[in-house]
Amino acid sequence: MSKQEWPLYEVFIRSKSGLSHRHAGSIHATDDQMALDNARDTYTRRCEGVSLWVVRSDRIIASDPAETAAFFEPAEDKIYRHPTFYEIPDGVENL
């Protein structure tokens, strides 16, 4: 057993150009290059991607699920930000 756990990396795959990278899973590696190699071998054995991102999991800043309601609350009462808020009479076209 190695003395210390290898760092965890999150893996993101762009499946084809034109699409954004999407989280696929995670991988352990001793360094960045190994993380890329391991991610390729583990997550793209069937040509699932044209581009890979790996990022150390401990470098990701995440919102707190326990605070979800309060954190996203400011957007909740602003229904006027949606086009459906506005009533446009029949007959007006291309709007």
Binding site: M1, S2, W6, L8, G25, T30, T42, R45, P65
Partner: protein
């Protein structure tokens, strides 16, 4: 592949933390088919059940590389060898997807590996049977992966997000495993009488252990009710086993080989096959560590791990050196 026997163990599941309000709110989310994500609040028992199930599933994938790996150097053609190599590699990959899903629940990879190597952790009973002839490779793909698919398709809708997503990935790859196995057997069955006899022999040996993969009968399955309520599990062991028998018998008929069960017959009223009693003592023995290959499988994994020690050390030393240079 391969969840099973995963209802066993963990006597502590009663000690669930959380207030009645928290538990009720959690169950409400589950009932509304909301997915639970890694950082969400969850009852301790839910977390432990998942850790046990996902890690056992991962161990099964990793140990599952052995019975097939056994034939890599003896595959009858380059084509079959390349296929088998890809399949064995997939099993390793599935193990990795699943370990990382389990890690989101707060258990470390090293801990899981240590539990497997010490013999504390369980894995699917099916991998404690030997692969004695080439047709066994076909039978594993067709029957073992076939049974695994039955188990795993519903897991794609499991309430725990990271597990469900890993299973989607696994299931996509599993179909190749089953088809290559069936095609391998089809080739044998269309060959000489001797080759066909090999296929029949493999079916004879793998049929019953494959049925055992679904775990104990519903009446004996301890954790099922809770797992169903939490939507970790969607169908009972017996329901899945029945589905498997119903689809597989017809496939055996097409191959022209027969399922080794004198009690097997189609019930015209229900449209389902009825089948003979499973030898549950054998199942219990294999789970308890006394199957034909338990000892060999574990020893091989331990050896692979200790043989790889210097590689892991070297990788770590290299990384530290590079990091030190970059800092200087």
């Amino acid at each position: 592949m391969y969840t099973q026997g995963l209802d066993q163990g963990d006597k502590e599941t009663q000690a669930s933390a959380g207030t009645p309000e928290q538990l009720a709110a959690f169950q409400e989310r589950i009932d509304a088919e909301e997915k639970i994500e890694a950082k969400d609040w969850m009852p301790e028992a839910y977390r432990r059940t998942l850790i046990r199930q996902i890690s056992q599933h991962a161990h099964s994938e990793v140990i599952g590389m052995q019975p097939e790996g056994n034939w890599l150097t003896r595959a009858p053609s380059l084509k079959r060898k390349a296929i088998l190599l890809a399949k064995v590699q997939d099993e390793g990959g599935h193990g990795l997807y699943l370990y990382s899903a389990a890690e989101t629940l707060g258990i470390s990879r090293d801990q899981m590996v240590a539990d497997l190597l010490s013999g504390k952790a369980k894995y699917s009973s099916i991998f404690n049977y030997p692969t004695v002839n080439w047709a066994d490779i076909g039978a594993i793909g067709w029957l073992v992966d076939g049974a695994a698919i039955m188990n795993q398709i519903p897991l794609c809708r499991c309430s725990y997000g990271p597990y469900a997503r890993a299973m989607v990935r696994v299931c996509k790859e599993e179909s190749f495993h089953q088809r290559q196995g069936y095609e391998l057997l089809l080739t044998l069955c269309r060959g000489s009488a001797e080759q066909k006899a090999m296929a029949q022999d493999a079916l004879n040996r793998w049929w019953w252990p494959s049925l055992m993969m679904f775990g104990p009968n519903d009446s004996e399955s301890k954790h099922s009710a809770q797992s169903m309520a939490w939507k970790i599990k969607r169908f009972s062991n017996d329901e899945l086993r029945q589905k498997f028998v119903d689809v597989t018998v017809q496939q055996a008929e097409f191959l022209g080989i027969s399922v080794p069960d004198p009690d097997l017959k189609l019930d015209k009223k229900t449209g389902h096959y009825t089948f003979g009693e499973i030898d549950w003592q054998e199942f219990i023995d294999v789970i308890a560590g006394n199957g034909p290959c338990n000892k060999q499988r574990l020893e091989k994994r331990q050896k692979a791990h200790s043989d790889g020690e210097w590689v892991r050390e070297a990788a770590q030393a290299y990384a530290s050196k590079q990091a030190a240079r970059a800092a200087a």
